[in-house]
C-alpha cells in the first residue's frame, strides 16, 4: 500500500506492507537514531514523537501514522545537543544505546510538565529503560538541564 508520511518536516512516499511498523520504516529511510530494543513496548528505545507526543515506533503501524507529523532525534538536533551536554557532563550516556529514546522523552516532558518534581520526572520517564542502569546520572543531568540558566550556548555547542 502506498503511504505518504511527514518525518521531520520532510514528505516521504513509499510502498509498504500493511503490517510494516513505523520503526522499520524510519530505519529503512535512514533515521538510525530510532533503536530497536525490546519490541514489547517496554524499553522506550524506539521513542519518536507523533504530533509532538512521545510514542513507541515499535508498536505503531506505519499506515496508521499517515497524516500525522513524525519527529525523530534527527529533527531536533539543537534541543537534543543541549540536553546531551548535560548528560555528558554527568557521565550519564554510558553505552549510549538508550540515549536517543530518553532524550526524545525528556524533551517531550519539558513541553508537557512545568517544573516537574523528582517523582514526576521518574514517573514520566518510567518507560525508558537503561541496560547500564545509569538512572542516577540521567536524573542529575535532567535536573541540571531543567535549571540550566547560566550555561551559555557556546559552552553547550563547543
Amino acid at each position: 500500500m502506498k503511504v505518504k508520511i511527514k518525518v521531520n518536516g520532510q514528505l516521504i512516499i513509499d510502498d509498504v506492507k500493511d503490517d510494516m511498523l513505523l520503526l522499520d520504516f524510519l530505519r529503512k529511510h535512514g533515521f538510525y537514531s530510532v533503536k530497536r530494543g525490546c519490541e514489547t513496548s517496554n524499553c522506550g528505545l524506539c521513542t519518536v514523537w507523533m504530533d509532538e507526543k512521545p510514542i513507541l515506533s515499535c508498536s505503531m503501524l506505519v499506515l496508521r501514522a499517515e497524516g500525522h507529523q513524525i519527529t525523530t532525534l534527527e529533527g531536533i538536533q539543537n534541543e537534543a545537543e543541549e540536553f546531551a551536554y548535560f548528560m555528558a557532563h554527568e557521565g550519564a550516556e554510558q553505552c549510549g544505546f538508550c540515549s536517543p529514546g530518553l532524550i526524545m522523552n525528556v524533551l517531550a516532558m519539558t513541553k508537557e510538565l512545568k517544573n516537574p518534581t523528582t517523582d514526576e520526572i521518574n514517573r514520566y520517564l518510567a518507560g525508558n529503560l537503561c541496560r547500564c542502569t545509569g538512572y542516577m546520572g540521567q536524573l542529575r543531568a535532567i535536573k541540571k538541564y531543567l535549571n540550566r540558566n547560566g550555561v551559555t550556548d557556546d559552552e553547550i555547542h563547543q
Binding site: 500493511d18 503490517d19 513507541l56 503501524l61 516532558m109 520517564l125 518510567a126
Partner: protein, 255 residues
C-alpha cells in the same frame, strides 16, 4: 509474531461492523499494544482512527469517552479525575510508560477484559456503561460477564455522581503488571468493592457499611476468590487482598 494481510481505515461504524463479521479472524485494532505481542494472522485489521472517537465529552449527567481515547488522555483529564478523586489517574499512571499510554486506547483495554487490567478495576467501581455498536448500551459490569462477541465498543459513559473512591494495587516492580489491584467507592450506605488481577478479570460486589471491616473482608474473600499464577500464589494474593481492603477503609474514613 503478528501479521496483518490487509489494513483498512474505515469511514463509518457500519463499514467496520461489516468487515469485522466477514471473517472470524478480522479484528478492530485499538492501540495494538498487547495485540502486537501475540502470534496471529489477521486477514483484515480495522482501524477506527478516522471516526472521531478520540475525545472525552462532558455532558450534563455523564462523561462520554470515545473508544479511541488514549489512556493518557484519561489520565490527564482534569474534570474527569476531579469527579472520582483521581482514581482513574491512579489506576493508569503505573502502566508501562507515557509513550505506551499515549498509544493504548480505552476501547481496546476494556473490550479485551484482561484479567490484569487496572483500568477495568477502577471503572467497575464507578457507575459506568459501555455503548456497543450492535448490542447498544449496557452496564460495564454486565459487559464484563458477556462472552467475547463480534461487536464494536464505541463509547464508555461514566455517570456523574458524588464518588468517594480509592484505587490501590501491588506490583513487584514499577510498571509491571499488578499482582493484585483493588478499587473501592463509598456512598452513604454502601461500599462498592472491585478486586482485579486475582488473576481472573475484575469482579465487583456491594456491601453495607453496617458490617464490620472483618465481616466485609470475609465476604470479599468468599465472593471474589484469588488463584495462583506465575506472578503470585493464591495465599499471597489473599493476604494482599486483606491488606489492601484495610488500607482502603482507612483512606476513605480519613477523608
Amino acid at each position: 509474531m503478528l501479521k496483518i494481510q490487509k489494513y483498512t481505515r474505515v469511514k463509518n461504524l457500519d463499514e467496520a461492523y461489516t468487515i469485522l463479521n466477514k471473517n472470524r479472524n478480522n479484528m478492530i485494532i485499538g492501540g495494538m499494544m498487547w495485540l502486537k505481542m501475540s502470534h496471529r494472522l489477521i486477514p483484515e485489521a480495522i482501524d477506527l482512527s478516522d471516526l472521531n472517537l478520540n475525545s472525552i465529552e462532558e455532558k450534563e449527567n455523564e462523561f462520554q469517552i470515545g473508544c479511541m481515547c488514549t489512556l493518557r488522555q484519561l489520565e490527564v483529564h482534569q474534570s474527569l479525575n476531579q469527579l472520582c478523586q483521581n482514581m482513574i489517574r491512579d489506576a493508569l499512571c503505573d502502566i508501562v510508560g507515557v509513550q505506551f499510554r499515549n498509544m493504548a486506547t480505552i476501547g481496546g483495554s476494556l473490550f479485551s477484559r484482561f484479567g490484569f487490567s487496572d483500568i477495568l478495576t477502577a471503572l467497575l467501581a464507578l457507575d459506568c456503561d459501555v455503548i456497543l455498536y450492535h448490542q447498544g448500551r449496557i452496564s460495564l459490569e454486565e459487559f464484563t460477564r458477556l462472552p467475547y462477541e463480534k461487536d464494536i465498543l464505541t463509547h464508555i459513559c461514566i455517570k456523574k455522581k458524588n464518588y468517594r473512591g480509592v484505587f490501590l494495587c501491588v506490583r513487584k516492580s514499577a510498571t509491571d503488571l499488578s499482582v493484585l489491584n483493588m478499587a473501592m467507592t463509598k456512598n452513604n450506605q454502601y461500599y462498592r468493592i472491585v478486586i482485579g488481577a486475582r488473576p481472573q478479570k475484575a469482579k465487583c460486589m456491594t456491601v453495607s457499611q453496617n458490617l464490620s471491616h472483618n465481616e466485609i473482608i470475609e465476604r470479599v474473600k468468599l465472593n471474589m476468590p484469588c488463584q495462583s499464577n506465575m506472578r503470585s500464589s493464591q495465599e499471597y494474593r489473599e493476604k494482599l487482598e486483606e491488606a489492601l481492603l484495610l488500607k482502603a477503609f482507612k483512606k476513605l474514613e480519613d477523608e
